[in-house]
Subunit: 381 residues, 2 copies
């Protein structure tokens, strides 16, 4: 129940024990092709250029940023947490002139502030935000910002590492030009490959580059030439991880995307209502809280590390600590993919209440459990 | 029996089914620490900075090149195949002034040519070669070239993707400053992480960089800060791949490095002697042939694709085709890690002889098998 990796389905783990096929074996190429089809379904896109990069979620970010940003490009990035800041760092390494639009850690990126920054930046080539900020538990709606990008003639980048497969991601309907994600969050596969999609407009910019991207390993032109019918050798695909991705995507589609979103929504809101009913505060602004990752304020007088240690040792529950300025101030509780279950909601509330009580802070665990249970049964508290 | 991925031991595959620990979970950190210790043993190095990068073998190459080469650095790369050329491409993207020293595809890099190029290049910062060229089956001895690099005050890079765990790799004894490898060759783990080691001198250059490396995902300063006791979050480690690496390294050390080298040597030489006794030619120069990867000349009148297709379909044997100029001219036959067995040597000779005969070219399979068998029993033919 941390901010990822989430638990994997037994079918996903079992898939990795299959014998290693060659990276150009016809059977393996078939698996890759099926992954492409399923990735498009899960990302809700028609983009031809839809692949999984050979690395963890951050490799998806690097592939997106390093391929799209050319030296001297004006770039506007909305930053409301740790991962927005990371996009800025990468865009700077790619040679971009980056304007960052900061929001408080706990609030979403403000479209009005983005609009001002875009207007002040001359010809903007790329606008970017993080859909689901894993550091704060905040969701920034991409659509209004994608609209601003389009009006300015810029491409729109959306980081969906923590949202894909858990909350609605609609790459095409949003008007997003590049979307990337990880596998170890709501897709519930091990970390090791990263879904990435480029719109035709984004792809045209990549194809028109005058200097190649900074990175050879994550050069999208080379990666796509392996993933598409050219099958040009670039790297030895992380075979077992592709098997895992294939199973994980199959499981998502068997459950149904909408049903899966509803499950995450129900469990996440039940947890949040339960925590508040117990007397705890939530860090993220109301209305922008992710159901898949909840940031809980650590009450006064409670030791962050001791509580997380006891949860792990006594209940095998991992939760994340705060990153950056939020260190020691919040816990980050994930309900992602396989880990998003009613049982986990109730177990967590009960375990947390008991451990916090041992530190001398009494919470109303009974009210928390009752409230969460009502929500789980679909009744408003 | 292709050029990789090789087959994995059941213990390695099973390791990947373990539940996903968090990337900062104390138990996972212990596994990482043990990997570091074992990687140093397998690489024969005392280098503190020894990690596995979160990607396939090419990610190790990118981490080595992009971190060591700074814009304007003079770099001399020996190229005797596809992968040497790849180092050149990366070093150019990193902004290096690259001098390439070519050798014929089938011969090793010539130290005398390297010496000339180093002398002609002004202050050289980095010299690089591929120890085991997977495209040609050729081994270039690193030690004489490392000595030249040292005399010129340059750092020495050695690509050991295909050699590590199969033929002697002696990072420190060679005087190599940066060595990287993959897991899917002679270590017999799935592709997905890449061993990398930096000497103190190489690390000093990385630490003294004035501009950060081109890559954020494979920035060694950030990666090392996660792998060492600082445990600074950088990426979500490819957890299952690290489990697999841990088991694979354990298996290497249980077998014993010297014993493992001897096994690869015995099986590889038996295959090569058997192929020659059958009447086939070997592409790589005698004296520089890798035991772990053999390039066999395709006889006149034999269809490359049909033979490889029949081997795969009827015997589940994958062999590689030629890369670049060698396309259609050679087969690349791997005997790496778990795939380096006596049974595979004999099966391959027998299957290949039969399939080639169907194309109207008769080989002396009996002589090939007899010669290989004698070699396997330790007798010279």
């Amino acid at each position: 129940m941390g901010p990822g990796p989430s638990g994997a389905h037994p079918r996903v783990l079992r898939a990795m024990t299959a014998p290693l096929l060659g990276h150009l074996d016809p059977e393996f190429l078939r698996i890759m092709d099926e992954c492409r089809v399923m990735l498009r379904q899960v990302l809700r896109t028609e983009n031809a250029v839809t692949i999984a990069t050979p690395g963890t979620g951050t490799s998806g970010m690097e592939a997106a940023v390093m391929n799209l940003v050319e030296p001297g490009d004006n770039v506007v990035i909305g930053v409301c947490g740790y991962f927005g800041d990371r996009i800025v760092q990468m865009a700077e390494r790619a040679g971009g002139n980056v304007t960052r639009v900061d929001a408080a850690w706990g609030s979403p990126v403000d479209p009005a502030e983005m609009q001002k920054a875009i207007a002040a930046s001359g010809q903007v080539k790329l606008v970017g935000i993080v859909h689901a900020e894993t550091s704060t538990g905040v969701m920034t709606p991409p659509e209004p910002i994608a609209k601003l990008a389009k009006e300015a003639g810029a491409l729109m980048l959306v980081d969906c590492v923590t949202s894909l497969g858990g909350v609605p991601v609609e790459a095409d309907a949003w008007g997003a030009d590049v979307v990337y994600s990880g596998t170890q969050k709501c897709l519930s596969a091990p970390p090791g490959v990263a879904p990435v999609t480029f719109s035709p407009a984004a792809w045209a910019k990549v194809r028109a580059r005058e200097v190649p991207s900074n990175t050879w390993y994550l050069d999208m032109s080379l990666l796509e030439a392996y993933w598409d019918e050219r099958r040009s050798y670039h790297h030895t695909a992380p075979i077992s991880m592709v098997y895992a991705l294939h199973q994980a995507l199959s499981l998502v589609l068997e459950e149904g995307l909408e049903q899966r979103w509803a499950r995450h929504e129900r469990n996440g809101r039940a947890l949040q209502a339960g925590l508040e009913a117990m007397g705890l505060g939530l860090h993220a602004d109301e209305g922008y809280r992710l159901p898949v990752l909840t940031t809980v304020k650590i009450p006064e007088g409670v030791n962050d590390g001791e509580v997380r240690g006891a949860l792990l040792k006594r209940h095998s529950i991992e939760v994340g600590g705060g990153l950056g300025d939020l260190k020691g101030k919040v816990w980050r509780v994930g309900l992602m993919g396989e880990s998003s279950t009613e049982g986990n909601v109730l177990l967590f509330l009960s375990a947390l209440g008991r451990i916090v009580a041992e530190q001398g802070v009494q919470l109303d665990v009974k009210a928390g459990i009752a409230t969460a249970s009502e929500r789980l049964r679909g009744q408003e508290a």
